[in-house]
């Protein structure tokens, strides 16, 4: 488990390096370089510890070989959180930033969420990006209802979160009046980094979920 995470972290660092690492990597003395490496390792450790809160993994490659012991919850959550297929519910200008987030500069695929599905039946997370008018609200609800469980929702931007500057007869004052929202992203519109941060928050949230509670209940009832 841990090794997987480290791999992912490394891949992510590589990506970061490919994008803008050149600008942040110090060019100066060896000491500065060592400091930078230390900070990078700390960051890596922090991420891997955060990701395994539910998986007390004791993995030693010399003893177990290719076998990994972990909890089912942790494994399922790990798989879920790293392949979130979004349903892009683009309703206004936030959708432009959503498009930017999935384009090359910001590259939402680094976080496993690049597969934008325009069919709700294949989507995991609905990103409500933009002003939800009352006329559109029930269509959003209907698409949400068509998404299979488990599903999550990100309210992107001021309008989707609270109605934003549209205090009027025509605008729903926040999509949370209709569907449950997991992460709110502030901004008008939020920058793509903010959306990526929201996505990472959602991943952290998914890692803390108990993913097989229903199945456990069913099993106990059958017994």
């Amino acid at each position: 488990m841990k090794i997987f995470f480290k791999k992912i972290c490394r891949i992510r660092h590589l990506h970061d390096d490919a994008n803008d690492g050149k600008s942040i990597r110090p060019r100066g003395s060896n000491q500065a370089m060592r400091k930078f490496r230390l900070a990078a390792r700390k960051q890596e450790n922090r991420v891997s510890r955060m990701s395994t809160t539910l998986s007390p993994v004791a993995y030693d490659g010399k003893i177990e070989g290719n076998v990994i012991f972990t909890q089912l919850d942790a494994a399922i959550n790990w798989m879920r959180s790293h392949s979130l297929w979004p349903m892009p519910m683009g309703l206004a200008c936030c959708a432009i930033e959503l498009m930017a987030a999935s384009s090359s500069r910001f590259d939402i695929s680094r976080f496993g969420a690049e597969v934008m599905r325009f069919s709700p039946r294949q989507a995991d997370v609905m990103i409500v990006a933009g002003t939800v008018t009352y006329k559109m609200a029930l269509a959003v609800k209907r698409i949400w209802d068509q998404m299979p469980e488990p599903k999550w929702c990100i309210a992107m931007g001021a309008c989707a979160s609270s109605g934003g500057m549209y205090r009027s007869y025509a605008v729903l004052q926040g999509i949370d009046h209709l569907i449950p929202v997991d992460v709110y992203v502030s901004g008008c519109p939020p920058r793509p980094e903010a959306l990526l941060d929201g996505l990472m928050k959602l991943q952290a949230k998914i890692m803390k979920e108990h993913s097989v509670t229903e199945q456990k209940k069913e099993l106990l009832e059958n017994l």
Partner: protein
């Protein structure tokens, strides 16, 4: 043909239906009788080259009689001049003849007027709401409709709730004061803002 000639010809053709002519910054407005709106529009299109209907709008003179006013903006692409036709619609009657068969673009414009102001257009081919949903009980651009909206509840069809305005923002207080006094932001609601608080503004 200039705009003056066109207006003169139109007045000769319909001496009883054109009540008033106003000039403002080079634009001519004619106040006409509702009963002859279609005749005048047809005449303007076929005889005088007004081949382009720029816009159809409505005005709510709340508290006056007649309450509503329809405004048609015509333009002649051939002769390059503009003409505005205005006609009054009373609250009791609340109908106007459609011009959507004269200029097809009027179809959606009239639907918008019907949706937001509640004026019905006689012989319109498809008079449905266009911005609000089918079944919404109000006409929101009327002056007696509150900006924050009203509660509607139609399970399975639609719903709406009043928006929380909280005394602002985007509310203007009728006063002669400066912009800072006229448009208080939410954090200043209830108190009179002093200029010292707006150091960022000139």
């Amino acid at each position: 043909m200039t705009c003056e000639d066109a207006v003169k010809k139109l007045r000769e053709a319909f001496p009883d239906s054109i009540h008033e002519e106003t000039q403002f910054r080079g634009e001519t407005s004619l106040r006409i009788a509702k009963s002859s709106l279609r005749d005048i529009c047809l005449h303007a299109r076929d005889r005088m080259g007004f081949d382009y209907l720029v816009d159809v709008s409505s005005v709510d003179h709340f508290g006056q009689e007649p309450r509503y006013e329809m405004v048609y903006e015509l333009y002649s692409l051939r002769n390059e001049f503009h003409l505005r036709l205005k006609t009054e619609v009373s609250e009791d009657d609340n109908t106007a003849p459609t011009v959507s068969d004269i200029w097809p673009t009027a179809d959606w414009h009239e639907r918008e007027v019907y949706d937001l102001m509640g004026i019905r257009f006689i012989d319109h081919p498809d008079l449905r709401r266009i911005l609000m949903w089918e079944g919404y009980p109000y006409h929101p651009l009327r002056k007696d409709f509150p900006l924050e909206g009203k509660t509607t509840e139609m399970p399975g069809v639609a719903f709406s709730e009043p928006a929380p305005l909280a005394g602002g923002p985007f509310v203007t207080i009728p006063t002669d004061g400066t912009t800072q006094v006229r448009e208080p932001r939410a954090r200043h609601a209830g108190e009179i803002p002093s200029p010292e608080k707006f150091l960022a503004e000139p």
